[in-house]
């Protein structure tokens, strides 16, 4: 079975500062994908960033980057230059290679303070 753990229920950050959200996971799979999704009050899940486990290079998308530590089964999200629009719930998720479902963590509520 796959499990995803987010140990920070709530976090806050000053506008323009940097914040890191933590995620750990457990799996016996050797090939898989990891994701961070953002859920604003509109409830729609929006993909922030995706990482293939077989790639050693950490994924980046503009102000968003990850620190993927495969041996430690850790997948943290760093948000640089935080903006008010980044305020949302953030979910870490796992999917097996050729899988058909996500396994989600319980989320981190991020508030960006002006």
């Amino acid at each position: 079975a796959q499990t995803v753990t987010q140990s920070q229920p709530e976090m806050s950050v000053q506008e323009a500062e940097t914040v890191t959200l933590s995620c750990t996971y457990d799996t016996s799979e050797s090939n898989y994908y990891l994701f961070w999704y953002k859920q604003p009050p509109s409830r729609q899940m929006i993909l922030v960033i995706r990482q293939e486990a077989y790639k050693q290079q950490n994924a980046t998308e503009n102000r968003f980057s990850v620190n993927f530590q495969k041996a430690a089964k850790s997948f943290s999200l760093k948000i640089s230059d935080s903006q008010l629009g980044d305020t949302a719930m953030y979910f870490c998720a796992f999917m097996k290679h050729r899988g058909n479902q996500f396994y989600f963590g319980t989320g981190t509520s991020l508030t960006v303070i002006p």
Binding site: R43, F91, G99
Partner: protein, 113 residues
């Protein structure tokens, strides 16, 4: 349509009643998924449809839950004899193939009173 559409946006129902939740996926997307998001929890997989294949129902929590997908497009999630613990946001997603282009709808918030 341009996105995944779910209706109703919000639904309040009395305990014991049946409810139907609807999902209109992105046109041409062959895969459709239902997830449940309970308060303070992550998303929990319910069911997966892929083309004409038999659906993966492994996530349905009880036999009160069922889903169908007609004509490979619109899907309906039905909850019979609703219970208070069924209160949650039900999210639908569709994709063209696998994990790429995986798009979520805005969900239906179900409240059982």
């Amino acid at each position: 349509g341009a996105g995944v559409s779910q209706s109703p946006s919000n639904k309040v129902t009395e305990k014991g009643k049946d409810v139907e939740l609807r999902c209109d996926p992105i046109s041409g997307h062959t895969a459709l998924y239902w997830y449940r998001q309970s308060l303070g929890q992550g998303l929990e997989f319910l069911i997966y449809f892929q083309g004409n294949s038999a659906p993966d129902k492994s996530g349905l929590p009880s036999d009160r839950f069922s889903a169908e997908r007609t004509g490979g497009s619109v899907s309906t999630l039905t909850i019979q004899r609703t219970q208070q613990e069924d209160s949650a946001v039900y999210l639908c997603a569709s994709s063209l193939e696998g994990l790429y282009g995986y798009t979520f709808g805005s969900g239906t918030r179900l409240t059982v009173v």
